[in-house]
């Protein structure tokens, strides 16, 4: 897959970087820290050191993605290869270069495949966040969280409400402690290594032999069995392939912090 991806990008126009500030406009610097994955490895809680990185303050919007498609017409609905995006790719748009509904210009773009998200990130001179980075950045409570309410409880509340007919705009839910918006409660988001967790599709297997290290949702391996919100994110990622597109699935980009 990596070879395919590289091959498909060679023809892209790359945006010129205009120096540090412009490159990270609209991004938030996430400080370095320790992330404890939701899953144990070899029956031990894991600590992962996360280096400081920049993360988009909000998910990529329909309007932003339209710019990308205009600059890279091979990513239009009519031209995209089925290898890189399934039939529902950008289904909510009226046409190749026409979103068709002004109300969603500033809403997150959804129905985009991993390949499309990855290409967009490259075009912007960025990359997709890794799962560890994403989870680390997402594990910060909203700045205006009701006192005493757990983050996972708030997330479950989101799933208890039906999908709105029109997806709300970005920055319409909450800002978390890092200053990042909508990590929960608006859409699911692609991460670079979305398929690095293997559960076998059945959430109850406790991780047989060869699966032990990878088994995600096998509840015996969970650090916190009450963290249902994490179970759901891992189950969701497990159900995806890189060319899948889903009506509630979008993405945001990340970049490294220059180590000068």
């Amino acid at each position: 897959m990596a070879i395919l991806v590289l091959g498909s990008f060679s023809a892209f126009s790359q945006r010129k970087m205009k120096g540090g500030d412009a490159a990270t406009a609209g991004m938030v610097r996430i400080p370095a820290g320790i992330y404890h994955p939701f899953l144990k490895a070899n029956n031990k809680t894991v600590s992962v050191k996360i280096h400081s990185f920049y993360l988009d303050a909000h998910a990529v919007t329909n309007a932003e993605f339209l710019d990308f498609v205009k600059a890279n017409p091979q990513w239009t609905r009519s031209k995209v290869s089925r290898l890189f995006a399934d039939e529902n790719y950008l289904k909510q748009w009226a046409g190749d270069f026409n979103i068709g509904n002004d109300r969603v210009l500033n809403s997150p773009v959804t129905n985009v495949s991993w390949f499309a998200a990855e290409s967009y990130a490259k075009w912007m001179g960025k990359r997709l966040p890794t799962m560890e980075e994403w989870e680390y950045a997402a594990n910060s409570a909203p700045v205006n969280a009701p006192k005493g309410e757990k983050l996972s409880t708030m997330i479950l509340g989101w799933y208890s409400r039906p999908t709105p007919a029109v997806l709300p705009p970005v920055e319409s839910t909450f800002k978390n402690g890092f200053g990042v918006y909508d990590m929960h409660g608006l859409i699911w988001e692609w991460v670079y290594d979305f398929n690095s967790i293997i559960t076998g599709g059945d959430s109850r297997s406790a991780g047989a032999l060869d699966k032990q290290f990878y088994c995600a949702a096998g509840s015996l391996n969970a650090v916190n069995k009450e963290d249902y919100a994490s179970f759901m994110r891992f189950a969701f990622r497990e159900s995806l392939k890189a060319n899948y597109t889903v009506a509630n699935l979008g993405f945001r980009c990340a970049t490294d912090v220059d180590q000068k």
């Binding site: 039906p162 999908t163 293997i198 249902y228 497990e238 899948y244």
Partner: protein, 373 residues
């Protein structure tokens, strides 16, 4: 990512090798309890049809004329939607085919059940399906994990007859069941069950809402209550009142009634009872042992039972979980209205009402029969 893909592929490979080995062993030493167990003697499929699916409390008709195993196609769509849980109280259900419980599926022993599981594009969650009637890893759960906007297909042989639960097993399982993702599949013995006059489909389940029982508006799932096994609602067929009043089931005096009853849980065991009837037959736990003359039968969470009784006296018969506070405080009530002629030889109704004095010296009779109804 390349590495992990390889690991994934390796997993699949190892797994299929293991599975093939198991099949091989069974093939060699084939002395199973049933001829069908090895899958060898199942015979060729005689034909193919798409299953008729019904919503509770309806049950699809049997097909006793099908003497050989068929391929039965079962189309199920997962829909997440807000529906009424009780008067004034809504809940966002996750459903098979838009109802909780999901559709009733009726096949015969030896049939190949081909499941097409579609996940509505606007759903938020991935879903799958675990058939307790299936023999294979996860009961199909592994094979059927489906992202929103996709369809998964897998098939299994219905090796054993009985009444079985199916449910979603995507992480976190408890929440998927608590939100309404369950139903029943009946695997009839070849030729079908003995015909009766009425068949009904009932599934008991619990709902764990953030608000207390009776709180109005859209209620969210409450994880803490689910873990503590303290539901706000215990219901038959997905909501309070789904089988009472105008929604009650109906039968006539003389009818033989068969209830297919599942208990989806997710937590509680049901003490299933029909007030004013004694079960002629109880297929214990939905299996092959038939017990007679039973008042109350246990149904484990993730289990089912078939009960049969004969309507002899007209009236309204109330079905309860006889863990009785669940019935009268949390909603676990259903009704069968039996119409027809009275039968005073079996049940008189009230024949007398007298004043009562504890010293027993001055009983005064109130004249005239007072009918109960």
């Amino acid at each position: 990512m390349k590495v992990t893909n390889q690991v994934k592929a390796l997993n699949v490979l190892l797994f299929s090798m293991f599975f093939a080995g198991v099949l091989l062993l069974q093939g060699c030493f084939s002395t199973p309890a049933s001829d069908n167990d090895s899958g060898k003697n199942l015979g060729r499929l005689a034909g193919e049809y798409t299953a008729t699916l019904t919503s509770a409390p309806e049950v699809p008709p049997s097909k006793p004329w099908l003497k050989k195993p068929e391929k039965v196609i079962v189309n199920i769509e997962v829909i997440e939607k807000t529906m009424k849980l009780a008067n004034g109280t809504d809940y966002t259900y996750w459903t098979f085919n838009g109802t909780a419980p999901g559709p009733f599926i009726r096949v015969q022993e030896g049939d190949e059940v081909e499941v097409h599981l579609s996940n509505d594009p606007f759903n938020k969650m991935p879903h799958n399906i675990d058939f307790h009637a299936a023999t294979g890893p996860g009961g199909g759960a592994e094979a059927s994990l489906t992202a929103p906007g996709h369809t998964s297909v897998f098939s299994f042989r219905a090796l054993r007859p009985g009444l079985f639960i199916y449910h979603c097993a995507a992480a976190p399982v408890g929440m998927h069941i608590a939100n309404g993702m369950y139903g029943l599949i009946l695997v009839e013995p070849r030729g079908g069950l003995k015909p009766v006059n009425k068949e009904f489909y009932i599934v008991q389940s619990e709902f764990y809402t953030k608000g207390a029982n009776g709180d109005t508006g859209l209620q969210e799932f409450d994880l803490d209550k689910a873990i503590k096994e303290q539901p706000e609602y215990v219901v038959f067929d997905g909501s309070v009142g789904a089988l009472t009043g105008n929604n009650a089931m109906h039968a006539r005096v003389g009818d033989k009634v068969r209830l297919f009853v599942g208990n989806a849980g997710p937590n509680l065991t049901s003490s299933f009872h029909v007030i004013g009837e004694i079960f002629d037959n109880v297929y214990q736990e939905g299996g092959s042992i038939v017990n007679h003359d039973v008042q109350t039968t246990l149904i484990p969470a993730g289990g089912a039972t078939i009960v049969e009784f004969t309507c002899k006296v007209p009236g309204t018969y109330t079905i309860v979980d006889h863990s009785i506070f669940r019935a009268f405080n949390q909603g676990a009530i259903a009704q069968i209205v039996v119409s027809g002629d009275e039968n005073p030889n079996i049940y008189s109704g009230k024949t007398k009402d007298t004043l009562y004095y504890p010293d027993n010296s001055k009983n005064i009779e109130v004249p005239g029969k007072i009918s109960q109804r």
